[in-house]
Amino acid sequence: MKKLLVLITLSGLIYACSDSGSEKKDSSTGEKESKNAAAASSYDSTKGAGKFTHVDLASSLDHKMADGGKAVYDVKCSSCHKLTGEKLVGPGWKGVTERRKPEWIMNFVTNTEEMLNKDPKAQAMLEICMVKMPNQNLTDTDARNVLEFMRQNDGVK
């Protein structure tokens, strides 16, 4: 009887431990896995994690916004990012608007911690730079202006 109890307890423990693992095949965990998979597949790594799901870009540059973005860049970004393609602390900005979607950029500069924790591209850059990008607490307007300044830097007129 005692042995049986131990067995039951042990199996319970194994069940509990494997909850987040992938080996259990019973229906309840199976369901959970598929949910996880669904959650993973619903993450759009081109747009990144954050509040910006859709950013409209005009074909021509908004100079006022770009000027605002330059002012933010001078105070909060230029310490680590050059406007050329050369890496300083972080990557140079040349071509960034071609490499990344606008949503990804705005999410990254406003939701830095979460992006560094889950976004594959952000994590790949962290492995190269080895310094976590500081959250410089940009407002939504700041972020949009910085994006416009990046577009200007990439030749949008």
């Binding site: 001078d74 105070v75 909060k76 230029s78 310490s79 680590c80 300083l88 602390v89 080895m130 310094v131 976590k132 500081p134 959250n135 410089q136 607490n137």
Partner: protein
């Protein structure tokens, strides 16, 4: 072993039968309740329920603990320089410690009071007194920094301070030492009775900015003012102060100030004082004291000399100040949550007198005076007395309230806390403290609505409570659960300096508004560099101003040449980070001053006077990132008269040359 246990049990039984209350459990475990750990455990990542602000006594600082865990959260430098962050060392904070006697690096900080609105702590400011060189400070509870320090003229030993009225209309400051005042202060000590006076200052507090100003001082007889508390509710217009040394001794006070059976509780009608001020009855006295203000936008303090103070004389201006006899050498002066009862704790008395505000008013109306003391009416003891707590213990000091009709008084000599009922003044419970308890604190315990869940005893003697650390020990504090009928000891925790009075309040009233960083856009420091583009080095005669930025993980500039021996070099370091908890530090070899710690968005200045030619390393002292160890640079110092040009750069193999302006 079993025998021993039985004997032990027997011994305890005998002690309990015959020994109480004189014998107390002597070892650490004896008095602790079984589930104490559970009741004080705050799991990793979880927050405490209360902030506990604890005065530092002789260290001049304020420490902040979480309750019920007793975890130390922060030390706030107030009246002392602080090597952790450069307070009092940086150019910006040096003016905070300026006094009419010059720069005072270390004072003695005794009592704290949270600002109140409608008689309850509102979480805006914390006031602190300096006992030695008399001052009052205001600490901002958004930034947890000292924002203002006001010196007090006509004062010696600012002890009965900084207690507040119900809406922080005034903070008070009363003199422990009476001193000579006026033009000639070089008088014989034995002319005490003729030449010495005490004062009580009423400091007005601006309701929006918090700025302090001495509204008026009361000129009082040469006695010692010890502690105080404001009236509340019906007694809103009054302030009460304990007084000792009514014998007016100036030597061996231990004996000579313990002669009279009763000293006084002084009752001040501050509304009446305001009225006299409005009627122009105040006398303007020429004095000299300083007023230091920290500007959070400029990240800098200024020190201003003030020259005048308004004084009211209660000998001339009637109906403003009264004395109530109080046995014997009273220390604590505490007002219950209803505002009706005033508790005087006579250190040398074998009872605790409780005075009634209503009876006091009636006694004044009926002129039930036993005479006057230097022109101030003395109310008959029995006329103002509600009753006496009989046989409370030995050496009553301070009383706090739980809001449920109970009072708790610390007993220094008999090392215990005594709980008694405000209704019938009967003792309900007593709990031992380890050892020689001074002040007590219940969250909101001197307000209109105490949060009567915990009581903390701040003890003066530690002895064997913790692992020994040589002759000098941390002070011991004890946390009691007072939610039930009996007080239950649930935690010991060491404290820093020597705590006197403390305050506590629910954490969420403060934590929500806590500053996380300073906005770089709002930085109005005259030497700020908002972005690396503004970093530069400028020479003005023998002064060299280095506008230097810090961000993970480099300085701009980090290579500087053209500094000369004997130059006054000012490193104005701006931390460009805009995220919570990313300070940078700054140190340069041979700096005789200190290091500094700069919060995100802040500018802070370290002065450095190099004494020899050579190359001096500088670096960040706060581990800021994986490449923190790379956050470093060099300053080249050349001899006096050298022609090496002033240059500065970061990441240039051949530095740009910029001529000195």
């Amino acid at each position: 072993m079993r025998m021993l246990n039985q004997y032990g049990l027997l011994a305890v039984c005998i002690m309990m039968t015959f020994g109480l209350p004189a014998c107390k459990p002597r070892n650490a475990g004896a008095a602790v309740t079984g589930d104490a750990a559970e009741r004080t455990y705050v799991a990793p990542g979880k927050y405490d329920e209360f902030y506990n602000f604890v005065s530092g006594g002789f260290n001049g600082q304020v420490s902040v603990y979480g309750l019920p865990s007793g975890r130390l959260l922060k030390l706030i430098p107030v009246f002392s320089v602080f090597p952790e962050n450069g307070y009092g060392y940086s150019e910006e904070t040096k003016p905070m410690l300026n006094t009419s006697h010059g720069f005072v690096p270390w004072d003695d900080q005794h009592h704290l009071e949270l600002s109140q609105t409608k008689g309850q702590p509102d979480g805006r400011w914390l006031f602190a007194n300096a006992n030695n060189t008399p001052r009052v400070a205001r600490i901002d509870l958004k930034s947890f920094r000292t924002s203002e320090i006001l010196e007090l003229p006509n004062s010696g030993g600012n002890h009965s301070s900084p207690f507040t009225t119900e809406n922080t209309e005034y903070i008070v400051a009363g003199t422990r030492f009476s001193v000579p005042m006026g033009d000639n202060q070089d008088v014989p000590l034995n002319s005490y009775k003729k030449n010495f006076h005490g004062t009580v200052s009423f400091i007005s507090v601006d309701s929006s900015s918090g700025q302090m100003k001495i509204a008026f001082q009361l000129m009082l007889p040469g006695i010692d003012f010890d502690l105080s508390h404001a009236g509340k509710g019906p007694s809103h217009d009054w302030f009460f102060f304990s007084c000792y040394n009514t014998e007016q001794a100036h030597t061996l006070l231990e004996v000579n100030a313990s002669q009279r059976d009763k000293d006084f509780i002084m009752a001040v009608n501050w509304k009446k004082a305001e009225e006299y001020m409005r009627q122009g009855k105040g006398v303007k006295k020429q004095v000299s004291y300083v007023h230091n203000l920290y500007d959070e936008k400029k990240h800098s303090a200024t020190s201003t000399v003030e020259k005048e103070v308004w004084v009211l004389d209660p000998k001339e201006l009637k109906d403003m100040v009264y004395f109530i006899p109080c046995p014997k050498s009273p220390h604590g002066c505490d007002v219950d949550p209803s505002g009706e009862f005033i508790v005087g704790s006579g250190k040398l008395a074998a009872l605790i007198p409780v005075f009634s505000y209503t009876k006091m008013l009636k006694a004044i109306a009926d002129k039930q005076f036993e005479g006057d003391y230097e022109g101030i009416p003395v109310i008959k003891y029995a006329a103002a007395l509600q009753g006496e707590v009989q046989k409370p213990g030995l050496g009553p000091l301070h009383t706090e309230f739980d809001g449920k009709g109970n009072a708790y008084t610390s007993m220094f000599v008999s090392s215990e806390v005594v709980k008694w009922s405000l209704k019938d003044l009967k003792v309900l419970d007593r709990a031992p403290t380890y050892y020689s308890v001074g002040h007590l604190c219940i969250p909101g315990g001197d307000s209109k609505n105490p949060y009567g869940k915990y009581l903390i005893a701040y003890n003066k003697i530690t002895k064997d409570r913790y692992l020994p650390t040589g002759p000098e020990l941390a002070q011991s504090a004890q946390l009691y659960d007072i939610s039930g009928d009996k007080m239950q000891l649930i935690l010991d925790f060491p404290t820093i300096g020597e705590p006197h009075y403390a305050q506590a309040m629910p954490a969420d009233l403060i934590s929500k508004g806590s500053t996380k960083f300073f906005r770089i856009e709002g930085n109005a420091h005259p030497y700020a560099s908002k972005g690396e583009k503004e970093a530069k080095v400028i020479r003005e005669g023998n002064k060299v101003h280095v506008y230097i930025t810090a961000i993970r993980s480099h300085f701009v500039p980090d290579n500087i040449e053209g500094v000369r021996v004997g130059d006054e070099v000012y490193f104005h370091v701006t931390n460009l980070e805009q995220d919570w908890d990313i300070p940078h530090g700054f140190a340069v070899k041979g700096a005789a001053n200190a290091e500094i710690l700069i919060m995100p968005g802040e500018t802070c200045t370290l002065k450095w006077v190099p004494g020899e030619a050579g190359v001096y390393p500088m670096y960040c002292t706060d581990f800021c990132s994986a490449l923190h160890q790379e956050m470093q640079g060099y300053v080249r110092v050349s001899p006096v008269g050298s022609s090496v040009a002033l240059t500065f750069s970061t990441n240039k193999a051949e530095p740009d040359s910029t001529l000195a302006k």
